[in-house]
């Protein structure tokens, strides 16, 4: 097992982790501040991807597409919050699950209606199309490194936002005691819309960035959403730090697992069998890890901490 290949897989894991962090951070913020579980977050991811692909195809510029994805996702988030989500605060989780599940249907079929059933393609911008030499000799796509970089920037940005700005202060206060901040005169309604739109923008950004790596199609968001749930469960609901650590953990474990498990089984099984068995078990790996962590810490690793 070469070093180069291993490093490549670790980087891939980090890239997946970063993407999951963008999703999980929004989800955990929304839950922490508003107490709302949002199944439609995957749809916002998809909206970002479609907006980016559509605008990039139309204007020829990935960067314009990226801006469009942020705007579209944030706008979609704001509209959803104002029209639907607002009525769900304080209602029991079943109602929230159903309403946001209904939103998935509306978004998915609506997008199919607008764009048809075939996937859209998004090209990596030429500025990021190159590769970087890694220790060990292999080449690693610059674009993927850029994604990791964006993730780090967002993590830092979120940290600064939450800990240094007034908005962040209101968010932290809202997480501790919703009724109190309303009584103190904070415009809770606007705060909630802002938080939801922020989470949506992060999801849209993730969708747009990944859209250049995989295709942009309806239903691309839900598998990522479910993985983001695993991240939040591991990291602890309401904790951005937990979302970051959980996301990196899930991303790296999943990627390395898919890479290493077939090799592990290859030690004592025939190669084709090893691939199949290893692959099947690798697909279950992070859920097993989640179960193990829950056995020890039922509320996740950093529950309750910012």
């Amino acid at each position: 097992m070469q070093l180069a290949l291993f490093i490549e897989q670790v980087l891939n894991g980090l890239q997946l982790g970063v993407m999951l962090f963008l999703m999980a951070a929004g989800l955990t913020l929304i839950f922490g501040v508003m107490g709302l579980i949002n199944l439609a977050h995957g749809s916002l991811y998809m909206v970002g991807a479609f907006a980016c692909a559509a605008v990039a195809a139309w204007t020829g510029s990935f960067w314009l597409g990226l801006v469009a994805s942020l705007a579209a996702a944030a706008a979609a988030g704001a509209v959803v919050e104002l029209a639907v989500v607002r009525r769900l605060y304080g209602r029991d989780h079943l109602d929230q699950v159903l309403a946001t599940f209904a939103l998935i249907l509306v978004f998915s079929e609506g997008t199919r209606w607008l764009f048809g059933s075939f996937p859209l393609y998004l090209d990596i911008p030429p500025q990021l199309a190159g590769a970087v030499a890694l220790p060990g000799g292999s080449q690693y796509p610059l674009y993927r490194l850029a994604i990791i970089g964006v993730g780090v920037l967002v993590a830092v940005g979120l940290y600064l936002l939450i800990s240094r700005t007034r908005l962040g202060m209101r968010i932290r206060a809202g997480e501790s005691d919703r009724e109190m901040i309303a009584a103190l005169g904070v415009d809770v309604a606007t705060l909630y819309t802002l938080v939801f739109a922020l989470g949506a923008a992060l999801a849209g950004l993730a969708g747009a960035m990944v859209g250049a790596l995989q295709s942009v199609q309806v239903g691309m968001g839900e598998p990522v959403l479910i993985l983001a749930f695993v991240v939040i469960v591991i990291g602890g609901i309401g904790s951005i730090k937990g979302a970051l650590i959980g996301a990196v953990l899930v991303g790296v474990v999943d990627t390395l697992g898919r890479f290493l498990l077939p090799q592990l089984f290859g030690l004592f099984l025939a190669p084709s069998q090893a691939g199949l068995v290893g692959g099947a078990l690798a697909s279950m790996l992070i859920y097993v890890v989640m179960a193990l962590i829950l056995a020890v810490r039922p509320r996740g690793l950093f529950a309750g901490e910012g």
Binding site: L98, A99, V106, V230
Partner: protein
Amino acid sequence: MRGREAIIGILLMVLLLAAPVVASQAGEPFYVTLATRIAILALAATGLNIALGLGGLVSFGHAAFFGVGGYAAGILAAHAMSMEPIAFGIPGTKQMLVIWLTAIAAGGLLALAIGAISLRTAGVYFIMITLAFAQMVYYFAISWPAYGGEDGLPILLRNQFPGVNTLRPLPFFLICYALLVACLAFFALLRGSRFGAALQASRQNETRLAAVGIPPFRIRLVAFVISGAMTALAGALFADLNRFVSPSMLSWQMSGELIVLVILGGVGRLAGPVAGAIVYVLLEYFLGGMTERWQFFLGLVLLGVVLFARGGLVGLVAGRARHG
């Protein structure tokens, strides 16, 4: 209010029986198949209703049990056809009774495993974890090549039931209907029993339940196991109906569909799953006939139901539930 609810329930069940019989006489087997689909989904939803309706456990992973039941049927049938034993010399079978028992056992065991971990959490954690575990089963099924993987597993000939020609639509419908009636009766008895009282109390106030000396975790786990077993039975029937086990039976969309069935009809109501299944399948058929984008409208209807019609459709007609 119980009276009106009972009347609606009986009406729906009579309708569900009469329509396919009439259709069969009129030589329209398609509608018999449609009714069978309704009966099976109602059965699956009744299973979920035990955990969700009575126990308040929002399981977004019941597709795992539905699918496991289907795969139980498919695997047993496949091995019966190929004459190869499954493992340890255990042969396959095409006998429905054996298949049902296997599906029930498989669903129950999986629910025991998932429940033992998930039920230690609550609220949104529980929702996310059940969703995650079902996804795990799904990914495993599509990557395990022996039983079809992504392509699914066909059941070439419908399985057998002594004395009945199961290949014909009406007899198979009657089998499914009979099982539905049996499961509805079981649900009703369960709800009124000591266990049902403890389960409903655990939904409303688990602190109070523990304070009187009944451990909520154990009650919920048993309820979850029964719930998973019943939904798995429905899965076995579904696989037989379609003569195909599709991995989509394990998907998150299926889990969502099951919850929708329960909610549409009214959470915790006996006739709820039946009403929900009827409405859902008919919507799928009629709306789906008009537009491929029928799920868009389903989404809007659901939003309407959640935001404005909180007791589901049965609730709309029968009024608020009284528990006495």
